[in-house]
Amino acid sequence: MKREMDIVESLIRSAGRRLDPPGDAYRQVLASATDAFRRKSVRRRQARWFALAAAIATLVVGAVLMMQWNAPAGRGDLASIERATGGVELAHGDGWQPLDGNRGSLGTGRRLRTQPDGRAALRLAGGASLRLAGETEVLLDAPGRIFVHHGTIYVDGGVRPGADPIEVVTPGGTAREIGTQFELQVAGARLRLRVREGSVSVDRGGRSLVGAAGEQIEIDDAGSVRRSAIGPASDAWAWAEAVAPVPNVDGRPATQLISWVARETGRRLRYESPAVEERAATVILHGNIHHLPPLAALEAMLATTDLEYVLEDDTMEIRARSEPIAEP
């Protein structure tokens, strides 16, 4: 032990006092580190505040909706089911029943959910289109107000002059469309908003954000926000296009179908020339194209006309067909 003690003492004495760092280095590093510490503290305080506010908002919204959850349905029609594929179920009492042939109107307090393979398209009372991706559960809360418990929805507000905006309430915040097409994904307090057209405001924990067309906003559990770009014609919208309710085009001018397809696929519509636009207005379509995605429907219906479409980035151009149509 004595020998070890001597080595310790000898080493420390021989090495001498440790170097003291220069004072200016101390001051400079202290200033930077203090700045980093204060910024970190502010961010953490904000995150805690937003999480608390979101939790309170969730509790309030949850309590209100729980009261409505068990309320008798059917006090006024809020929506009708236009299209459903795969597993789609309606709440009945404490259980769920497959939609099957029941595609009538849905009143206040009705709950609808989709299985992983399920997709549904609803027409809301004001005329807007609401679509549900797989594994989604919604409640029709009031005229123009939908509660999304979880999953992914797509709203196409359409052109509804003077109509009230659609309000989408979620556990993680409330989104309001302002004449637009958008998708909202809900997972607990996490939100992902994709705006295809117009703009959407999101209120969360006392803070309001606005997403513009072509923007994706992700808000995590702590309220941190990440913005990125998403094109209106991106493949990300494909699921909503696939479940789009196809309008009745039998006996209608081709311009109606063309406008619908352009909107559904997020593309600007352009005619090759005024003459081509006039031509499209005089072509009357016959038959229907139910259950086809928009572009496939357009291709099928234009096949028997002297018009064709060309896609260029975010634009769909209608042109006179370059090759004459073969006689049957």
């Binding site: 003690m5 080493l11 001498g16 580190a33 204060r38």
Partner: protein, 194 residues
């Protein structure tokens, strides 16, 4: 060690809670040690050492919520500092000279023993002494709490147990016990290297 980590976790929590006094306490304890740690790896370049320590503190504060207390907080800072040193060499690859530290040498025990001998007159002794000096410095820096200071006060300043006790606001018995543990920790740390 478990107790130290527990204390470090509590300190990290106080800093994350926005307690500036806790941050300042950590800074004042770690800055000189990390500066020496960095300077040993970028010899004769005090500006680079300062920048590395600055980067270390900023990154460590930013990532402090990921500190789980598996190791002492100072060890965790040292790991971040090592990465900052590696970044420094990557950025300055043309002028980079690899620094070989004493603890990396295969015959380190022989070097230490020759250093511990009363006098040596071999021509390489100066370089070896410099490395051993750095090693002792690093070992004292790595000791927990105020062990390093207590050992310096005793062996370099020649203070009595009572004087050390006054400086540390401890009783004499507690100071004796602390010095025993400090010596033991130092010996174990050195033995761990060789």
């Amino acid at each position: 060690m478990a107790e130290l980590v527990h204390v470090d976790r509590a300190l990290a929590r106080r800093i994350l809670g926005g307690e500036e006094a806790a941050f300042r306490d950590l800074f004042d304890r770690f800055f000189p040690r990390l500066y020496r740690f960095a300077l040993a790896r970028v010899p004769r370049d005090p500006e680079a050492a300062r920048d590395i320590v600055q980067q270390t503190f900023c990154q460590a504060i930013e990532r402090l919520d990921t500190y789980r207390g598996e190791a002492a907080l100072y060890t965790w800072f040292c790991q971040i500092c090592r990465n900052a040193v590696a970044d420094h060499y990557r950025r300055n690859s043309r002028s980079a000279r690899r620094v070989v530290l004493l603890e990396d040498l295969p015959d380190a025990r022989a070097i230490l023993e020759s250093f511990a001998a009363p006098e040596a007159d071999e021509p390489e002794t100066g370089a070896i002494r410099e490395q051993v000096h750095r090693l002792v410095e690093a070992t004292l820096d790595a000791l927990p709490g105020r062990y390093g200071e207590a050992l310096e006060w005793k062996y370099i300043d020649g203070l009595s147990v009572r004087e050390i006790a006054e400086r540390m606001s401890l009783g004499e018995k507690a100071t004796e016990s602390l010095l025993t543990r400090a010596r033991e920790s130092f010996r174990e740390a050195i033995a761990g290297i060789f």
